[in-house]
């Protein structure tokens, strides 16, 4: 997308950020999803970010139980879910208390006044009944509605909510989110027909529930209309710079799963996933386990170790083998990853990074596994490492990681993170025919009789002899092997040679050059990042360019091997800052790989996405120094 890099923000360009927040069970994610889908349907650009609490379901109304879902809608491309929101929906007192910090100073705040009773306020640790005053919120910014009561009034006569002659209040309460959604739809002039269609499809098996939800959405919309509710600045979000095509909303984890499915189909191989549930990677296991009609085999293993080990067994047996996890799982998988290195078998290891060390911040996002991916194994153990830069980019990244693994007979680490994995974007449906072929180096039939397991093709890749082929029986293993015969060898010269050959094989993997975006010819400051921070770094770069600063962005997707022009790019600009959500792991790697290169660093390990404004401030300080 570098071509469309537009430094000047046009006046008519509009964007809004809406954040829904409430109890974990309040359906905030669904409301957010519908808003983003409805907006994307009319051609707006979208980026979403769910913010889950770590607890499974904290006590109702408690501060730790608040769940948020943020949607950024723009007339032209948006790269992040937005730093702060223009509209905050707070379904209860705890939500207002914890989420106000994510709202702009002039943001409109929608609250359900029925969820601000004395008990609610106590649970949310308010000291007085004047919760707005306590939080310093200007009442003029607040759209106060009695959502609970209005939803009850709306639905209590619906037959769908009559159970054994009694009104099912619990069931009715589940529709509160739709009232808030309806009100937001009013504020931004969203087409309710699209919302209705979405709900009818979602609740296809329960048409009465669909209609009840639609009724509540309409009620919320009408409430806005009747009270002339409004927000500052924005009402209609235009659509510009749209790329024609067919789209769907996709999260990073789903896009990753789709990438593996696409790669397996292209390579003509069975897709095997060995995995163990772990936040925030489990959705990949969920997604892949759905698609048995595509022949996808998923095995939920007894532990992370078996997840990786069984995948390696599947790889030996001729499958496209994937294991998915997060950082703590990588710790356990590392011995089998290392075995894949010495056996030179294809394997994709997906690490959806989260806050560490140890259990750390399971639902939060970091980039702290980079050095673990590069170095976290015994012995000389080189392994390709890639990082996806956005939710939709996870598709291509998973496809490319699979292609590298299969064509170069190596394990590959694909890094995503909680932010990218759970966030979503509008995904233009790919046509698999446009994707490059995947051709594993199967041992040619004519080598029968002369072939040994560590014979290599020109690029240094070992041939793949899948069991079942006559004339190619062989033994692989974790012990060093003789380069020529493939037998166990501890010969000093041979080990040195094999170590170098394994390293050279990885170094030979062709990766595209590093792209520089923005003022590529005359930037004063080069901003460098990798993986999931792309959107924020790009937004910060654009923002600085709009204020006349000469800055450029170089964002890594391929980390090992590094693009061939890495040193050239790193040394081209007067100042370089490496910005990452760790304490400087990419900076350390670049310093190791680029002679006499000492970049400045911007490091943040808060478990939350970067904030564009903070980036701009930090980079501007560096720029002006």
């Amino acid at each position: 997308m570098a071509e469309s890099f537009a430094p000047q923000k046009q006046a008519e360009e509009t964007e809004v950020v809406v954040r829904f927040s409430g109890d974990s069970g309040d359906g905030m994610q669904l409301a957010g999803n519908i808003l983003s889908t409805v907006s994307a349907t009319v051609g707006n650009s979208i980026s979403t970010f769910p913010d889950f609490p770590a607890d499974i379901r904290a006590p109702q109304g408690s501060l730790t139980g608040v769940s948020g879902f943020q949607v950024h809608i723009g007339s032209s491309e948006v790269f992040t879910p937005g730093d702060q929101c223009d509209v905050l929906v707070a379904m209860n007192a705890a939500a207002l208390k914890t989420q106000l910090k994510y709202a702009k100073k002039n943001a409109a705040i929608i609250i359900d006044t029925d969820a601000f009773g004395p008990k609610d306020l106590e649970k949310a640790q308010f000291k007085t009944e004047d919760y707005l005053g306590e939080m310093g919120v200007d009442p003029d910014r607040v759209i106060a509605c009695s959502i609970t009561q209005m939803v009850k009034d709306c639905l209590s006569s619906e037959p769908a909510f009559m159970v054994d002659g009694k009104v099912d209040i619990k069931g009715i309460m589940k529709c509160r989110n739709m009232f808030a959604l309806g009100l937001v739809c009013w504020l931004f002039d969203r087409d309710l027909d699209i919302v209705s269609n979405f709900l009818r499809e979602k609740f296809a098996k329960k048409p009465a529930i669909a209609e009840a939800n639609i009724k509540v959405v309409q009620a919320g919309y009408d409430f806005g209309h009747n009270t002339h509710s409004s927000v500052a600045n924005v009402r209609h979000i235009e659509t510009k710079n749209k790329v024609p095509g067919r789209y769907m909303d996709i999260t990073g984890n789903k896009a990753t799963a789709y990438g593996f499915i696409a790669a397996a189909e292209k390579a003509g191989l069975k897709l095997y996933l060995g995995s163990y549930p772990i936040t925030p990677a489990t959705d990949v296991l969920h997604e892949l386990s759905k698609h048995k009609s595509l022949g996808v085999t998923t095995v939920q293993c007894e532990d992370e170790i078996a997840g990786c080990a069984s995948s390696l067994g599947a790889s030996f047996a001729g499958a496209l083998a994937v294991t998915s996890t997060s950082g703590p799982g990588i710790c356990l998988k590392s011995e089998a990853m290392n075995l894949a290195v010495i056996m030179e078998l294809p394997l994709v290891v997906l690490d959806v990074q989260r806050g560490g060390p140890a259990t750390g911040l399971p639902t939060k996002s970091e980039q702290t596994d980079l050095l673990q991916a590069l170095f976290g194994r015994n012995g000389e153990s080189p392994m390709p490492v890639m990082a996806a830069k956005s939710p939709t980019d996870c598709f291509n990244a998973a496809y490319e990681a699979s292609k590298i693994a299969l064509e170069h007979m190596t394990p590959v680490v694909l890094l995503t993170d909680a932010y990218v994995a759970n966030g979503s974007g509008a995904f233009r449906l790919p046509n698999l025919a446009d994707y490059p072929a995947i051709n594993p180096p199967y041992v040619p039939e004519e080598m029968k009789g002369t072939w040994t397991p560590y014979m290599r093709a020109e690029n240094g890749t070992r041939y793949w002899a899948v069991p079942g082929r006559e004339g190619f029986t062989h033994i692989l293993g974790g012990l060093e092997k003789d380069d020529k015969t493939g037998a166990i060898s501890t010969a000093p010269e041979n080990h040195d040679l094999m170590t170098r050959k394994r390293a050279q094989k990885i170094a030979n993997i062709p990766v595209p050059d590093l792209e520089v975006e923005g003022c590529k010819d005359d930037a004063e400051l080069l901003i460098v990042g990798f993986g999931g921070t792309y959107g924020h770094l790009r937004a910060a770069t654009e923002e600085m360019m709009r204020s006349g600063k000469k800055v450029a962005l170089a964002h890594f997707r391929y980390i090992n091997p590094l693009p061939a022009n890495t040193a050239e790019v790193m040394k081209k600009y007067p100042k370089v800052v490496v910005a990452e959500q760790n304490m400087g792991q990419l900076a350390a790697w670049l310093r190791m790989k680029v002679d006499n290169f000492v970049p400045m660093q911007f490091n943040q390990v808060k478990g939350q996405p970067f904030v564009v404004e903070e980036l701009v401030n930090a980079f501007t300080e560096i720029y002006n120094k």
Binding site: T37, A40, E201, T239, V243, P244, G245, R246, Y247, M248, I250, Y258, I261, A262, E265, K270, Y272, G274, K292, S293, L294, G295, T297, V299, C301, E302, D303, I305, A306, A309, S310, S311, G313, A314, S315, F316, A317, A319, A321, E335, L339, M343, L429, P430, N431, L432, P467, G468, E470, G471, F472, T473, H474, I475, L476, G477, G478, L479, A487, I488
Partner: protein, 335 residues
């Protein structure tokens, strides 16, 4: 008749210590494979790490000598991804029951159709003589100079506890007995555990002495066979009967006991209670050590179920390609 001979499965020169039980077992495995007659290129032999885990290097099949403890997990992926392969997993007592204990029980629980060989010499040999999870309490080794203070696993108990459906036992030096159970393991669909009692001549010499020779087995072992009475002894003079909640050894002809009174072995019985009692006999308790197929019960295998589920879902779901999968989503068009 099989078109193969032992030589078709043999490769290289084993490097185990002279007299090591692994030599005997390897030779029996070659023989059993030849009798079974599956082509070497349709077989994968997968081991972990340890003396016995060197075994795949001496097989003319496909194979992997992997990492410590993980053989069962790797074999699982291999079999599930490519069910046409015949998979043999080979581990020692340390590899299979200590570091690999979790994978051992779960392979049994899932009932993966693999043959799981457990070469039990009750010692860590490759690391030169530490006690293993099958070493008896009080066992003196380099890492337990004053004797161990822990109880050992009894492999059958672990297998049965994990809902294993096949358990057999042989002594490494007893080639016919070993070949028999290996063939039975292959015939059994599902995880098939074969415990091989073998001697470590260097670090635990004599550990299975009571049954290591033919004479010893005649006295101290009982060959169990499905459908036949549990009779043993040099002159077939002893038998096993049920007594209360337990078993007892009786002498045939004494106290009016005839062959007809002797318990008949039922390897196919779902309830594993008596099979477990047989499997646990012979630890200096006056009972003989049971050899042969102790449990062999049919049950659905994991890999078959995985395949069947895929076929079932394929028939039900309307999408069978990536392009069709995309169409199952909420799609909008930007013109």
């Amino acid at each position: 008749m099989s078109q193969y001979t032992s030589a078709d499965y043999k490769k290289g020169q084993p490097r185990w210590c002279p007299g090591c039980g692994d030599h005997f077992f390897l030779s029996s495995l070659h023989k059993a494979m030849a009798e079974i007659g599956i082509a070497p290129h349709d077989i994968a032999v997968i081991s972990g790490i340890g003396c016995s885990s060197r075994l795949p290097h001496y097989m003319a099949t496909y194979g992997m000598n992997t990492i410590h403890g993980r053989a069962a997990a790797i074999a699982t992926g291999c079999k599930v991804a490519n069910p046409k392969l015949t998979v043999w997993q080979v581990s020692g007592d340390g590899d299979g029951l200590a570091i690999g204990g979790n994978h051992f029980i779960h392979a049994n629980r899932r009932n993966i159709d693999i043959n799981m060989i457990l070469l039990n010499n009750r010692i860590y040999g490759l690391t030169k003589g530490q006690y293993s999870p099958t070493s008896p309490r009080g066992f003196v080794s380099k890492s337990s100079p004053y004797g161990t203070v822990e109880d050992p696993f009894r492999p059958a108990e672990l297998c049965f506890g994990a809902r294993g459906h096949f358990f057999a036992r042989a002594v490494a030096t007893d080639a016919p007995g070993t070949v028999d159970i290996l063939k039975a393991a292959q015939a059994h669909k599902g995880a098939a555990v074969c415990e091989i009692l073998q001697n470590c001549v260097i670090f635990n010499n004599g550990t299975h002495d009571s049954v290591y020779t033919k004479e010893g087995r005649a006295k101290n072992a009982i060959y169990v066979k499905h459908g036949e009475p549990l009779i043993f002894g040099e002159n077939q003079e002893f038998g096993i009967m049920q007594e209360g909640f337990g078993l007892k050894v009786v002498k045939i002809g004494e106290n009016g006991i005839t062959r007809d009174d002797i318990l008949v072995h039922d390897a196919h019985c779902q309830d594993n209670t008596l099979q477990l009692k047989l499997a646990l006999m012979g630890d200096g308790d006056g009972f003989p050590i049971a050899l042969g197929v102790i449990r062999d019960v049919e049950a659905p295998t994991y890999n078959d179920a995985v395949e069947a589920q895929i076929e079932e879902v394929k028939a039900k779901k309307p999408y069978h390609s990536f392009a069709e999968l995309l169409e199952t989503n909420d799609i909008w068009e930007v013109k």
